[in-house]
């Protein structure tokens, strides 16, 4: 029972990590908290859902469409939206992204109604028998795909010139500007990458979850908890934090019951914020 819960937690944890990765990257470089993160994830889920419903595109194949589209959306949104409107104040950005999430959530409610939507994949109920536990194929695919994307992102950040530029801007934006890096462009690219992570996460979440206009809210608290736990701006932290939260959730559900089991997440969030707000792997905020 316990191993099954831990394995299940790991599966979800990888996707949580991907959601949190976008958030932590945006925070690490732009020093802004994107409150519209959940709403953007909801948008990605709907995109994958409609691609499946209208064009019969498998959600996992849709990653190749939704991820680049999300990148472009994120880039445009930051460059000509959030960046311009916020005038650089921390709380302004928090509130503007909050306004954005209100708009997106209610636009989804307006156009798609409040009904929960799910997809039925032909292989949706096939499961791998490990002897002591069944793991459904969608969960396994999502798990490894999430890990792969995390690895790609790490490679992008540490091996390419773009990654180097992003890290430079994160560390010292004036200095980066002086050596000729287009800081505004890098900001928008980072925001785009963060939203692209959500695009991928949405596609992988769809087969094992549902979507409605409020799905994002569920993940906002989870993603913030992971980011705070792992340390704002830390990729490794986000990955490990994702696993910890995934396991906490499923093991908590096992011991405390479905309803009370969710308490672990907000509890961890509060405790970490109060006792170690820089997180386990974070540098000084």
């Amino acid at each position: 029972m316990l191993t099954a819960a831990v394995l299940n937690g790991l599966m979800y944890g990888a996707i949580y990590a991907l959601v949190a990765l976008g958030l932590t990257l945006i925070y690490g470089v732009l020093h802004i908290i994107n409150f519209a993160h959940g709403a953007m994830l909801m948008l990605a889920l709907y995109s994958a859902f409609f691609l499946f419903k209208l064009f019969n595109i498998d959600p996992y194949a849709a990653i190749l469409i939704v991820t680049p589209a999300s990148f472009i959306l994120g880039y445009v949104m930051y460059r000509w939206g959030i960046g311009k409107l916020s005038k650089g104040r921390d709380q302004n950005i928090l509130l503007i992204t909050l306004g954005l999430s209100i708009i997106l959530e209610n636009a989804a409610l307006f156009f798609f109604t409040g009904d929960q939507q799910t997809v039925n994949l032909s292989y949706g109920y096939d499961a791998l028998d490990l002897g002591f536990v069944f793991l459904s194929y969608p969960k396994i695919i999502s798990f490894f795909a999430s890990l792969l994307i995390c690895a790609l992102l790490w490679a992008l950040m540490s091996l390419t010139d773009l990654g180097k530029a992003i890290r430079a801007v994160a560390k010292e934006r004036q200095g980066a500007r002086l050596v000729g890096i287009d800081v505004e462009h890098i900001f928008a690219v980072t925001f785009g990458i963060g939203i692209a992570c959500l695009g991928a996460a949405g596609c992988m979440l769809l087969p094992i979850f549902y979507v409605d206009p409020y799905t994002g809210n569920i993940f906002v608290v989870i993603a913030f908890t992971i980011v705070v736990l792992g340390g704002m701006g830390s990729i490794i932290g986000a990955l490990l934090g994702g696993f910890v939260i995934g396991i906490t959730e499923s093991v908590g559900g096992l011991f405390l019951g479905e309803s009370l089991g969710q308490i672990g997440i907000s509890l961890i969030f509060i405790i970490i914020l109060i006792f170690k707000p820089t997180g386990l792997f974070g540098s000084k905020v």
């Binding site: 020093h31 908290i33 409107l85 916020s86 005038k87 650089g88 104040r89 921390d90 709380q91 302004n92 928090l94 509130l95 503007i96 909050l98 306004g99 954005l100 209100i102 708009i103 959530e105 209610n106 636009a107 989804a108 409610l109 307006f110 409040g114 934006r173 206009p213 809210n217 608290v221 913030f224 908890t225 705070v228 405390l256 019951g257 309803s259 009370l260 969710q262 308490i263 997440i265 907000s266 509890l267 969030f269 509060i270 914020l273 109060i274 006792f275 707000p277």
Partner: protein, 348 residues
């Protein structure tokens, strides 16, 4: 230096005559709202007014901590929900009438404020971190309320309909209208007191520059905790009002993120740190609501409009709609703000 300069400005700008003018305005407003039910024969409008007053009241509770003390909370609903459960459980389990229960709800809200405020402010949480931890506290309470026995769990609590003053239930909309009017009047009195008292000035100092306030000898921790306790007390009473009006309570209603958002929305749109900002914002919110409903009756549209208004206000009217009435201060406050922003962006 900026702190002292900014604090003295409103007094110099307002002067004595402005104070008298607003007193006269308040008096007129009081008379008009008191006699309004005798002229408004359509009960629907009375109900809308009641909702506006209620939203303005809960917005004002957010304004105490968010507007006057500059500490934004994203989980303000926790006081509302806790107050609602307190008076409702006292009624359903112990038979204590809500007219007494509402004071218990106020106390419960204040105590919750003390706990949350002490824990998060002592840990030095500011800005976005404080906003997020209040969100987490509200979520925590929602999960708890959903899981324990005495709140009725996910099934919720049903209140019996027995209109009487003792039960704070009324068989006409007029009763609830006056109930909400009393709450609103109290909240406006609290805001006016903040604008004139030493405590209010201390909160303003914390809002403008916490480190400087600390250096001036202000006990910032104590002040912020008092502010969140006032917010909690006000939120608690709002919970009782809601429970007695709608006669049903469950965790998603009691700790809804939507209400947390609504209270900060109306305050920011109306004008943070102003006496009438929340009321103006609440009025605009419900007008938008009614107008959009007349055009297309699909849920979501009014909130889309409101989200756009919010973003517009934050970007172009940081002092909210009230800022339009106070041009003079607006200019001065704005310029100080920009200097501060420039300094901050240089630090970053």
């Amino acid at each position: 230096m900026t702190v002292i300069g900014k604090l003295k400005l409103p007094k110099a700008a307002n002067g004595k005559s402005a104070g008298r003018k607003s007193m006269i305005f308040l008096l007129i407003a009081a008379v008009v709202t008191l006699v309004a039910p005798t002229f408004i024969t359509n009960k629907f409008y009375l109900d809308v007014l009641t909702l506006i007053f209620f939203t303005a009241y809960i917005g004002q509770s957010w304004n105490i901590l968010g507007g006057y003390a500059g500490q934004f909370s994203f989980g303000g609903v926790m006081f509302f929900g806790t107050g609602a459960y307190t008076s409702t459980i006292l009624l359903t389990t112990f038979g204590i009438p809500p007219i007494i229960g509402i004071f218990a709800a106020v106390a419960a809200g204040a105590i919750l404020g003390l706990i949350v405020g002490y824990m998060s402010f002592r840990a030095g949480l500011r800005g976005s971190y404080f906003a997020l931890i209040t969100l987490a506290f509200a979520e925590l309470l929602r999960v708890l309320a959903n899981s324990v026995e005495f709140t009725g769990g996910g099934v919720g609590l049903f209140l019996t309909y027995a209109p009487s003053l003792k039960n704070l239930q009324f068989d006409t909309p007029t009763g609830f209208y006056y109930f909400s009017l009393i709450l609103l009047a109290i909240s406006i009195a609290v805001a006016i007191w903040l604008e004139r008292s030493r405590f209010g000035a201390q909160l303003a100092a914390i809002r403008e520059n916490e480190d400087a306030a600390e250096a001036l000898g202000i006990d910032t921790l104590r002040c912020k905790i008092y502010a969140i306790m006032i917010m909690g007390a006000m939120g608690g009473a709002a919970g009782t009002f809601y429970a007695q009006k709608y006669l049903y309570l469950d965790p998603p209603i009691a700790y809804s993120i939507a209400l947390s958002v609504e209270m900060l929305l109306v305050t920011i749109v109306g004008g943070m740190g102003t006496v009438f900002g929340p009321l103006v914002g609440a009025f605009v919110l419900h007008m938008v609501n009614e107008i959009t409903r007349n055009f297309i009756d699909t849920p979501g549209l009014s909130m889309i409009v409101y989200g756009v208004i919010l973003i517009f206000i934050i970007s172009y009217l940081p002092n909210g709609l009230m800022g339009l009435f106070r041009k003079r201060q607006d200019v001065l406050g704005g310029s100080l703000e920009t200097t501060k922003n420039e300094l901050e962006s240089k630090d970053a």
